[in-house]
Symmetry: C2
């Protein structure tokens, strides 16, 4: 049973115009939920904030269903089962699932995946072993497809997805270049993760020149999390038969007017490059394979990761908004409670 | 032997800034060329002007080598062999090849392809059976890949490439929509070629609304010859797993500053669409297959075509410049001489 009958839940208070502000989030107290038949009550330990959530704040059809104003926000959560009402789980089990931004939430048994807290830190199931890591795995191996000796470039390179993408490309034998937004991030990807070159895009006005130095043989594969001028620069350096994987476009998510930029489709004719968007969910049937491979790489030290952890459910909006300021290195998480409590 | 020793040759007089003007072309008289060992002397009958030539006028590396200022322009030509110096051809043979904008030119035997003037009108080897037709063939079948019941959209739909692309998509069983720039062109593609819908983009300000009416189920495959706002509109209507084949971007070729437009890469994530550029030459090893298939479709009446023929070598620059004004319906040719002379 829950140690308290207090349950804090974040609601979408209003839809943002442009950059989300704290006015968009309302923290309410609600009665402790009761699991219905086949459901479990889960206590949130870690909550994930991710850039794609900006799309869910919009009142527009997208791949992720829009959040309703006045309704609870949802997120990837790692939590502990408090009570199972025929959900095929036991109290104390650690699970992951798409739950509310809340201290406690209920979910149907099949919507929760049991994880082994002894095999890896439980927080990693929201990062390197979770949606961001597996997105990187499939985006690199199925869409960008870097080969040994090729040059692979990733934007948002110090983030949850980009940091894993670059390392997988490196394991494939590619020359790996990452764009990130601070010297600390460049140090992280170059010296901790083994990228060949990091470009601090906040330290230069000429992304193309920086890229020409870091990728003198041109770009064979590009993994894009960011869009905008960085992507424009990379398009200017694509090699023949290059592959571009569009994973995210965070630079455009808060735009209040349609963002504009140079028209680049002509580049694709000369290079016969392929640009392809993809979603994590496209690969859901093979997710286990990716998770197991990533877990093995993490265990062997072939893949490193970092987490930026914000403490307290009440600070989840700050953690989310910080994503758009590039405040996180690696996976941004919110720690809501300790598992051993 | 040539009936005259006068040979007119067009040179690139200067590189254009923006839209090419007549100042870019210089018609000179040169001595009749003499075929060297292994070469033939060819009398030009038809000369092809194509949008890609705008790229050759630029002093920049591209897939087609830039033309040199003061040097002869080159083009696809259908001509008659006047003299063979061991080129494995006979006087009177009709050949096609990449020759000078000239009344007469020489070329090595292997650079000339003999054609059968009885199987199809010789001019079609520069159009529906030539580079434009085979480009459409491979672009549709290998890149855009429309399936039966899908919606296929083509821009530049009344041009040499687009008109063939739409008809091949129709043969594949797709619902075919074409963008073109006059009521006469719409009449041509709808009533002569059997497109399901034509959109006269000069008759509407809202391409997206026109497309929503013509393609109510969204766009599964897009064959782009044009770029710019038409392509922006199509990107707004792509279905999940759509394929976009980038063949040309004529709307941008004469730009003096980098053309800008709305950033559309985010659309690709939601739709998991693939955008791919390609070149005619990528498929050179299978060109015979395409030419034979197209010839059979033309003979059976499954594929119709039209030619816009400008008379006289001296008018070749006008014919070329007219491409950017959309003056041609179907393939734009220059008739330089009659075959039977």
């Amino acid at each position: 049973m829950a140690a308290t009958d207090r349950n804090r839940v974040f609601l979408l208070a209003e839809r943002p115009t442009g950059t989300p502000t704290e006015n968009c989030f309302e923290l309410t107290e609600r009665p402790m939920p009761t699991p219905g038949p086949g459901e479990a009550l889960v206590r949130t330990l870690y909550l994930s904030v991710d850039p794609y959530m900006r799309g869910r704040m919009r009142d527009a059809e997208s791949y992720a269903e829009p959040w309703a104003v006045g309704e609870p926000l949802k997120a990837g959560v790692v939590g502990e089962v408090v009570e199972s009402n025929g959900a095929n789980l036991d109290p104390g089990d650690v699970v992951t699932g798409d739950l509310q931004w809340a201290d406690y939430a209920t979910a149907a048994g099949p919507a929760l995946t049991k994880i082994d807290p002894d095999s890896a830190p439980i927080s990693t199931y929201l990062g390197v072993l979770g949606m961001p890591g597996t997105t990187a795995y499939f985006g690199v191996n199925e869409v960008a497809r870097p080969r040994a000796g090729e040059t692979f470039v990733v934007s948002g390179a110090a983030g949850a997805v980009g940091s894993v993408a670059g390392q997988i490309a490196k394991l494939n034998g590619a020359h790996v270049v990452g764009f990130a937004g601070s010297d600390e991030k460049i140090d992280f990807i170059e010296n901790e993760l083994g990228f060949d070159h990091g470009i601090n895009y906040k330290g230069t006005d000429d992304y193309g020149a920086a890229l020409a130095r870091a990728a003198p043989d041109g770009v064979d594969a590009y993994y894009d999390n960011v869009g905008g001028p960085i992507t424009d620069a990379v398009f200017g350096h694509l090699n023949v038969d290059a592959r571009v994987a569009i994973c995210g476009q965070i630079s455009t998510y808060n735009a209040t007017e349609v963002p504009t930029g140079p028209r680049k489709l002509g580049t694709l004719i000369q290079t016969r490059a392929t640009v392809q968007g993809f979603l994590f969910s496209d690969f859901s049937e093979r997710m286990d394979v990716a998770t197991r491979q990533l877990a093995s790489w993490v265990q062997s030290g072939d893949i490193g990761y970092r987490e930026t952890i914000t403490e307290g459910l009440e600070n989840a909006p700050d953690a989310f908004m910080g994503l758009f300021e590039g405040e996180n290195i690696g996976k941004q998480l919110v720690k809501v409670a300790d598992g051993e409590d």
